[in-house]
Symmetry: D2
Amino acid sequence: MTLDCPDQVGLLAKITGFVAEQQGNFVEVNQYTDTINNWFLARFAFEVPEGVTLETVRTAFAPIAVSINASWSIRDSSKPLRTVLLVSKEDHCLADLIWRWRSKEMNIEVPLVISNHDALRATVEKEGLPFLHIPIPADEAGKETAFRQVSDAICDVSGELTVLCRYMQILPGWFCEEHHNRVINIHHSLLPAFAGADPYRRAYDRGVKLIGATCHYATPELDAGPIIHQEMIPIEHFHTPAEMRRLGRDCERLALARGVRLHVDDRVVVHGSRAIVFGD
Amino acid sequence: MTLDCPDQVGLLAKITGFVAEQQGNFVEVNQYTDTINNWFLARFAFEVPEGVTLETVRTAFAPIAVSINASWSIRDSSKPLRTVLLVSKEDHCLADLIWRWRSKEMNIEVPLVISNHDALRATVEKEGLPFLHIPIPADEAGKETAFRQVSDAICDVSGELTVLCRYMQILPGWFCEEHHNRVINIHHSLLPAFAGADPYRRAYDRGVKLIGATCHYATPELDAGPIIHQEMIPIEHFHTPAEMRRLGRDCERLALARGVRLHVDDRVVVHGSRAIVFGD
Amino acid sequence: MTLDCPDQVGLLAKITGFVAEQQGNFVEVNQYTDTINNWFLARFAFEVPEGVTLETVRTAFAPIAVSINASWSIRDSSKPLRTVLLVSKEDHCLADLIWRWRSKEMNIEVPLVISNHDALRATVEKEGLPFLHIPIPADEAGKETAFRQVSDAICDVSGELTVLCRYMQILPGWFCEEHHNRVINIHHSLLPAFAGADPYRRAYDRGVKLIGATCHYATPELDAGPIIHQEMIPIEHFHTPAEMRRLGRDCERLALARGVRLHVDDRVVVHGSRAIVFGD
Amino acid sequence: MTLDCPDQVGLLAKITGFVAEQQGNFVEVNQYTDTINNWFLARFAFEVPEGVTLETVRTAFAPIAVSINASWSIRDSSKPLRTVLLVSKEDHCLADLIWRWRSKEMNIEVPLVISNHDALRATVEKEGLPFLHIPIPADEAGKETAFRQVSDAICDVSGELTVLCRYMQILPGWFCEEHHNRVINIHHSLLPAFAGADPYRRAYDRGVKLIGATCHYATPELDAGPIIHQEMIPIEHFHTPAEMRRLGRDCERLALARGVRLHVDDRVVVHGSRAIVFGD
């Protein structure tokens, strides 16, 4: 269960008391009070005895949630999350996530891979995954129609999460809103530095000594969504933009995999522009 | 309050319920269940209303603690911890801790600095701190007497914590036992690698590519106590042992400062050979 | 060209003068003098005009090398290195290296993959790579014969480098000697800590706060060969050995890939027990 | 000797040949060719026999420098660099540099400490260093006069380097130009992210997962000068801006100390907006 609500005295006792009543046994408890905004956020992982269903717990908790004015959700952590992957031509993030799915490191199903190019069809189909080629035209109207197709395709396979694995297209605002906090992107810089195009080239020109990658939720404003995870690597003056691209790939796939995993395990609660991450 | 006891269903509800009864408001809750040994460990930081004393809370909690078979302690986090510093000739760790004490970054008092050399007297007295020179003879009997003096001096100033700031002497077993989990040491390697003498020289000979420092509780077995914190730094083939010593100093003082801070803030619970660290 | 020899005044002038005479243009120069052992080690990357062959340069340099008593080698950096991969059942390092080969990130050819199990045959053959199953019996004589087969298979495909991608077998001493400095292993700890079996379990028991992986040359003494590269990751008390295994996989594949790349690009010169690494 | 010039074939042979002629013995050679701008940059550390003076070497090298169109300088590395420290009210960077000076870790002299506040006078004078209080008025004309005083004071003590140890004032453009590449600043963010005021607060609001500090040369454009070194530390959602300030201090003093050391050891060659750093 993840939950957030206005802070007040006794919240934790109330919720843990509830779980105890349901004969639940805590596996992990994470709690954070944002003292600046007086907000309580928490994650409770617990096991219930056989016979107690998700529905029972939900029904029993609903009145408590109302009484404390909480946003909340409960999920069965044994169920894999249906995750659609979007990709362009570069396959390092895609290959990495597919490996983590195949090896069961990550608790996801991949009902569909969508690309604006046909280049990676063989790579994807070799893994037994369905591949859908939806080209994105340059004109606004064409782009609109294409993204409508992408969104419909995700819904058709009941996608619960969409991951942009170096998908080199800017999503329309409505798309981000329809899939609010359910689209994860990887950007190849330490945001907010070098948002937008060609970050490695700009990192080279600026002469920074650290580069990295940022995993974040996609929002209508480009590269400005809540940050889930960041990875960095030190570089030296002799690293050209091409070499940064090579080194950066290792950051990108790691930052994306860790961010997606945190989301999949319900360890992320978004509060305003910040992602509260109860790490593992 | 820090606490550890055998795990059972309902522990968290019981304790948070107790705190709610005392009108306590949680500032931070950290809980960990060691599922391998079925052990519950936790730290609760809470504020109580004016008028409620530490003594009241202790008395009220005692029967609960007995009922769950818990080791526990409660401290008033506003009270600085009385910390005695032991040092030999190198002052980088000492100077760092003194700076953190003086700037109030760390909630400690320093009633005494003890050294087996007289070299740092001026450095210490300049800061307005008492300096005690207790030489450690080479022979066993002399050593015994000297460490008895060190131990007595710590007790005389009501020292609650002793920090070895690169104190280049092996403590007698009885000393570690008398001050059990109240002596923190810094060792200049990533333990368990290079325990014992001259770790940088041995790191050079072995050709490792990472060096570091380990902050741990002193136990009768040398460099084998529970680890609180470790810091590392990458090195290259051209770093001589002398250059490792220089780079390592930055790791040592940082690892020590962070480890001591974690202890001072009651964030460390030792369980067997492992230190459970509820990080900040 | 990589080169090492006793140090003396004027070595660098002599060698760079030679390259200038051959109309060579330096792309990169790396030089290191081990002042403890008075030893000169260097790597020179240079381009020669069309028409100048590797053979011409070698012949011209031979008398100079004799005059300075140097060990040396020159390679055409455009030629991929023939690299044989050995694996057991876990495929994370294997999959990673295959991806780096396929994407041309690493300048290698993979003429053969050998395993002591048949489990990864499909994974390997799907990539169009030959897979050879050579079981390793438990008895000494059987083991000896099997490793003779492994060694012969490597020679049959003219393997220039052998990479142990989590190959869970101890190589015989004669094997390491026959393939001296041409067998790279990945060990799942920060060597010299936790050499040998089950390092994550032992890291858990010791309560370390940093784990990692070490890429090194295989030598007859287990996990004691020259270290090429190490990667680390911080962990916390709540990470079980199983979770360390998961986190460690990311370290292992990265440390192995970086170490292999350094070798493939002739950036490693072994001197005694230490690997001099002219990093990129 | 540090040197940069347009790239051409044979440069390295020419320079190393020159040093050999002077009976110089190389201690360390670092060379980098910026292939994008076709520029050669290098650092040569060498010892000359007794009797050979800096002046002799300079005179002998001058015609070569002209022939290859080089910017260059030669310094006697045994001579400490005269370094003036500027500080406001926070003393963590100042205390750290003073410690490194006193312990001879850094090859500097400190002829003067200047502050716009009187708060740290005792801290500085306790170390036996001269302290000069030059308040900076809010009005432009007053500011101008005050910075003229600062600049004169630096010249009066023959300052060769000025280090801003958290000096919370924006330097006038003319000041940066008069002391071009001789003023080092520490900024408490991973530039170019969060240039300007209150970076920790903005890092908190943006929800980044990594913070850090940047050591760079001061130029007329604020926080935009060539970057010498950067340090970072991972943070979590529960770190408030105040806690980032605490954690950041460790980054700041380390990044500043390492950057200053690199400059002091003549390991930095600025080329356009980038600092080429021949690391140690």
